[in-house]
Assembly symmetry: C2
Homo-oligomer: 292 residues x 2
């Protein structure tokens, strides 16, 4: 049971975390900060937070648990602001989708409070954002990746594992480097491709007509294209090198398929599609994918 | 009420059509043909068909309704086989995902029975195929595009409209050219991209590890990559020019995003992502996308 959650950022991720923590009976009091007054007032009204702080540092003051749920580009500034008020026993986590930049920000800002920080990335989200879309079940059955630093304290790391597990998440650990390479491939690249496809349609004279004819396959493929622009801007820039490397790999595979289509090489085309189809069918049945 | 459906091809699409027609009380008897004995025997056991034909021509003989639910590459051969047994009053349809090639095949094979033929494309499918995955509700709430020829008889066209509407589908009409251009953009291209992404992951040493970390966004984006290889081989080859044109358009949009990421141009990057995000968010609420 935590005495006080200092919630910095009362958007979808942060508010869902506060709701889940309250339902699990793991926190007595949530003090929230957001740059937008409308957001904190709505969070208060919805019972997501119990008190409004006027700054990140105020939200973290006296908290034994601090969650940063801010755009990744704001991590540096936020850690710098709360560093003076963190106690040695406080557990500090973030929920950012990239981890090397977050770890670098922590190294540069947290000083003697670096052991308190456990970088975290819950693998979930929605195409809608904001406190008004918070879900108490958002983290249930979802993967949460922790990317501890060598300096991370064993106590805080253990607390982080227990906390996410208590919320129903499936916790695993890896290095920030491994995390960023993996999610460039299976999350950041798909978002980039979905955005590019929508922009391509928008750029065509008949694009709106084409869109009106799209069916369920398009619906699912393009769902992630509705994601929040500012968040994905930050992710793309923070993980630029890994993302561009994945995009190059992808384009090589795309060009290989295009060449088979151009050449009318039916047998090799079928082989290549079968490889892709089997890889996807196998993934569906992988234990790691069993969560919704 | 039709006396006899000649069902040529007892896979997912054909079997689901027969089941839906039977439930709606629109057919007395279904005679099915498939090159695979296992398939027709299972279709008979499941009550999808009432009798097994030993050839496409036998299934069509005496039928007042014929559905071709065969790979698009087999359309020409199948139409040629059934032409001699079609009556002037028979309604003949296909369910192919490309339409210019189907129309060309009809022009070359059907002769004086060309007026019987109403090319159709139901916008639905599953990532699993075969009679064992047939769904009586597959066509409910789904778009069905009819691409009649100038030679198509008004009677048969009207029958086709009424039939699909009775099954709960949303029927519209357009030219084969418009159809193929539109579905290159909103169906064939997304499939090509999903296959290429899976192949790109498979080609990487750490691909399996990356896949094990993928979450719900990846799940939905890649769902269509599990589609049937032979079917998509045929679609890609049949609609090659439109598909390659869409792929080029897509790559231009992808390169534009890549350049903004490389340049670290946060403001323009956010604008470009916002354009994509808004286009997708608007699509979700379009009436044309209200069907599941």
């Amino acid at each position: 049971m935590y005495e006080q959650l200092g919630l910095i950022g009362c958007g979808l991720m942060g508010s869902s975390f506060a709701l889940a923590l309250k339902r699990a009976g793991l926190v007595k009091r949530v003090v929230g900060f957001s740059p937008s007054k409308n957001t904190t007032e709505l969070a208060l009204k919805m019972g997501v937070i119990d008190a409004i702080a006027s700054s990140a540092a105020e939200a973290a003051t006296g908290a034994d648990l601090v969650l940063l749920a801010v755009p990744v580009a704001a991590t540096d500034m936020t850690l710098r602001a709360i560093q003076p008020v963190i106690a040695t026993t406080t557990l500090v986590m973030d929920v950012g989708s990239t981890k090397r930049d977050v770890v670098n920000a922590a190294l540069q800002t947290l000083g003697n409070r670096l052991p308190c920080f456990v970088p975290a990335h819950p693998i979930c989200g929605r195409e809608v954002s904001g406190v008004q879309n918070a879900l108490v079940d958002l983290y249930v059955g979802k993967k949460v990746i922790l990317t501890p630093l060598p300096e991370t304290a064993a106590v805080q790391l253990q607390q982080a594992r227990q906390l996410w597990t208590a919320l129903g998440s499936i916790v695993s650990e890896m290095s920030p480097q491994t995390h960023d390479a993996a999610y460039a491939a299976v999350s950041h690249l798909p978002h980039l491709l979905a955005f590019a496809m929508m922009n391509s349609l928008e750029s065509q004279a008949d694009g709106q007509q084409y869109l009106s004819l799209a069916g369920p396959g398009f619906r699912d493929f393009s769902r992630i294209a509705a994601a929040e622009p500012a968040m994905w801007r930050d992710i793309f820039l923070a993980n630029r090198d890994e993302l561009l490397a994945q995009s190059r790999q992808f384009q090589a595979s795309l060009h290989a398929l295009e060449k088979l289509i151009e050449a009318g090489d039916a047998a090799s085309l079928q082989d290549s599609i079968r490889q892709a189809s089997q890889a996807r069918a196998n993934w569906q049945h992988a234990p790691a994918a069993s969560s919704k």
